[in-house]
């Protein structure tokens, strides 16, 4: 029966085959706020942010940087790139290395970890403190490594997991599996908010493993979450959805050939940055409206941060649109009345004052 319905949907262009993308409107109405953000730091490979309330910690490849105001200093260095970072309430530090190992230190400068989780991990991309001294982690994909997320998307993998780790006992529990690239988690009460990138939604997973959808039909691929002062959350999105990519995701044979024959750099997939080569797909076009030729291009890369209220409803959003540079936003944390963000595309740490934003958007 499902097969018949899928066939009918594919024939008529309905359901999953509608190739329809939600619009950026309401609280997601585009602006250029991210383009106006201050550039605090430029890094080679920024990946994640964490804060202890005073300083910002930046994961830059294998380096851990400590950012005090505008001054950045290397706090420590690891043997592999950091794929996720969290500062724990007791001042401890949790890092995921290359997505395959999680180490927990009593303090950021501690020489040795007091807990290590290395078994069965593949693409850990988020770490966040949870009640009872535990930690939640999202393992984006059981199939591909952290850096191979485009392949995971093109193969429409659903192998992401949400894990609860207890450093005290060394126990790791899988709270949910089969997620479409889990990327971002934030523990709240007896639930954990998780962003599911390939499903374009925010979900809440309870301790018993049951799930509810908090924010569906996003026009973007959501990434990490962090708490906002005054309640609510900051949700980042590393790229926007486009009709072309949605269409390619419906065409299995096409994708297979593309992945086999084309240089991955030029695949029709979202990217964290674009406009670097004339060989790129989606680099530009024009449409003629009322006799006037206007430039137009679907975004191959995009930057977005969404301010959510405590219930997960969007209040306002900060954008870097087509033609902008601060794309591929993968992390945002609020510290000292400022919002600090990573634009992974250009390798920048950005900062925007939160007060004026709240005032402007009436949040």
């Amino acid at each position: 029966m499902i097969g018949v319905r899928d066939f009918a949907n594919r024939l008529l262009g309905r359901g999953d085959a509608a190739i329809a993308v939600p619009t950026f409107d309401g609280a997601l109405k585009p602006n250029q706020k991210l383009e106006a953000a201050d550039i605090v730091l430029e890094c080679a490979a920024p990946e994640d942010l964490a804060t202890d309330g005073r300083s910002i910690y930046v994961a830059d490849g294998p380096r851990l940087l400590k950012l005090d105001g505008d001054v950045a200093a290397e706090a420590r260095r690891f043997d592999r790139p950091i794929s996720a970072l969290a500062v724990l309430p007791d001042g401890g530090l949790a890092v995921a290395l290359a997505g395959r190992e999680i180490r927990i230190y009593l303090e950021p400068s501690a020489p040795k970890p007091y807990a290590v989780f290395a078994s069965g991990l593949n693409a850990v991309n988020t770490l966040a403190p949870a009640p009872g001294g535990t930690l939640v982690a999202t393992d984006g994909s059981m199939t591909y490594a952290v850096e191979d997320w485009t392949r995971d998307l093109l193969e429409r993998q659903r192998s992401g997991r949400l894990l609860v780790l207890d450093p005290a006992t060394g126990a790791a529990k899988t709270l949910a599996a089969g997620l479409g690239f889990a990327f971002g988690a934030c523990a709240t009460g007896d639930e954990v908010l998780v962003s599911e990138s390939w499903m374009h939604r925010l979900i809440a997973i309870r301790r018993d493993g049951t799930m509810r959808i908090v924010l569906p039909h996003l026009p973007v691929y959501p990434s990490r979450l962090s708490r906002a002062s005054g309640g609510g959350y900051w949700l980042t999105a590393f790229v926007a959805r486009t009709l072309l990519v949605e269409f390619v995701l419906r065409e299995r044979t096409y994708r297979k050939r593309m992945m086999a024959e084309i240089d991955p750099e030029y695949w029709i997939v979202p990217r964290l940055r674009s406009g670097l080569s004339f060989k790129e797909p989606l680099q530009g076009a024009h449409i003629k409206t009322m006799g006037v030729i206007k430039p137009w291009a679907p975004p191959r890369s995009y930057g977005l941060v969404i301010r959510l209220d405590a219930a997960g409803a969007p209040l306002y959003s900060l954008h870097s649109r087509v033609g902008g540079t601060n794309h591929g936003v993968v992390a945002a944390v609020e510290c000292d009345n400022s919002l600090v963000m990573i634009a992974k595309g250009p390798g920048r740490i950005l900062r925007l004052p939160v007060g004026p934003l709240n005032q402007e958007f009436g949040a």
């Binding site: 262009g13 509608a18 619009t23 009322m290 009436g362």
Partner: protein
Amino acid sequence: MSDDIVLSLTKATKLYAGVAAIDDVDFDLRRGEIHALVGENGAGKSTLTKVMAGVVTLTSGTMTVDGVEASPQSPLEARQLGIAMVFQENSLVPTMTVAQNLFLGQERFYNRLRGIYIAAQQFLQSLNFDVAPTATVGVLGAAKKQMVEIARAVLHKAKVIIFDEPTASLTPEEKKYFFDLVRDLKRRGVSIVFISHALEEALVLADRITVLRDGKKVVTDDAAKFDRARIVQAMVGRDLSHTLYGVRKATVRKAGDRVLTVQNLKMAPMVKNNSLSVFAGQITGVFGLVGAGRTETFKIVSGVLKRDFFYGGEVFLRDKPVRFRVPAPAVRAGVAYVTEDRKVEGFFETASIARNIYLGLTSRFPRGRAFLSRREVNAIGSDWIKALKVRAIGNEAKVVELSGGNQQKVVIAKSLVQAPDLIIFDEPTRGVDVGAIVEIHELINRLADEGKAVVVISSYVPEIMALSDRILVSRQGKVVEEFSALEATEEKIMYAAIH
């Protein structure tokens, strides 16, 4: 001066069952002038013009045409006197061609069709009207139909042409064209009487303005001596200028849950990849010129029209995909659509108010109802008549007997009785008088305050700006721009709608 008067009415009174529709009205029309008649619905404007056009006769008083007393007993007699009337709902035969409509009633025993077309072509060209004489009237737009009506009036050598709400169904560009036509008629020495609820039109177009209230003439003066506030005050006897489009929104309501999501909706050729969202507790205004696909988009949402069969896009109601093939399931899902064309789609005009309102409720019953309880019908009717302040003799009054504003309230009541979550108002105040506009606006605001998701489709920018919390601008079949009510200006909205 009296030579200049082409038509005058002295102490004109018309009684309907002892009730005065017009009472002791003095009116004069100068040669080659544009004279606007304004007033609330029920003020007597239509009756006054119908007297001039021979549709009704005076109970007492006199009418003179070119200084000679006249009492036309029928429109034909009025036409012979040189008085023609162009009605709000035009009187053309839709299945006939333009040329056939022009010469309707003037046919000879033997008519050569080619000769009629040639004569019509020459005549239309002499008026600078860009209408093909061979075109079937039914396929013409509202503006072109109006041109044919005007051409017919001029062809009949009318020296007085009366327009009843001529611009109600025209787009802003068409209105501008219509104004040029009227000014051209004036240059030809034709006197124009026009009824309009859009006061700006009266101020811009007319040489003189007469204001009627409750069947009595309040004032006649040169248009230059009026401003909007003075007209409104004369019309309603109170100052409404600060409640109607007068004050800019200082705050907007915050968006609640996303109630409606439209994604890449297609209905060739009107709706092209349209995407938008509508939120609870807010008024979402949708502005666009005719042909922008606004009405069609929301008719698809409410099951009145169907999207394209293949790749027609998606509609989500509270994040669940829906595809309504007829309106009844949409009503049951909490979607109400208040039509822009109330006379055709809004009500059964010979049925009572209560029955019309109850009909709205019946679509909520999955299997319909075999028997209607008269008591229930009347109770529901009475409640809504009271709630929306419908001015009628009783709930048994027929809708056709009501003024435009009250008819619109019945149409709105018919939708609200369905207890919808999403209410779509399509041109909610078209052809409605100022007093009723205020009441309808208050109602729309109240619905949003109650947490309903409200959509207001309008071609009138001040209305969109006065009502909306967020404004979507539609162009060529899709939403192209979104403004917060706080940042929107008329210029920005019009620019987005055109460019």
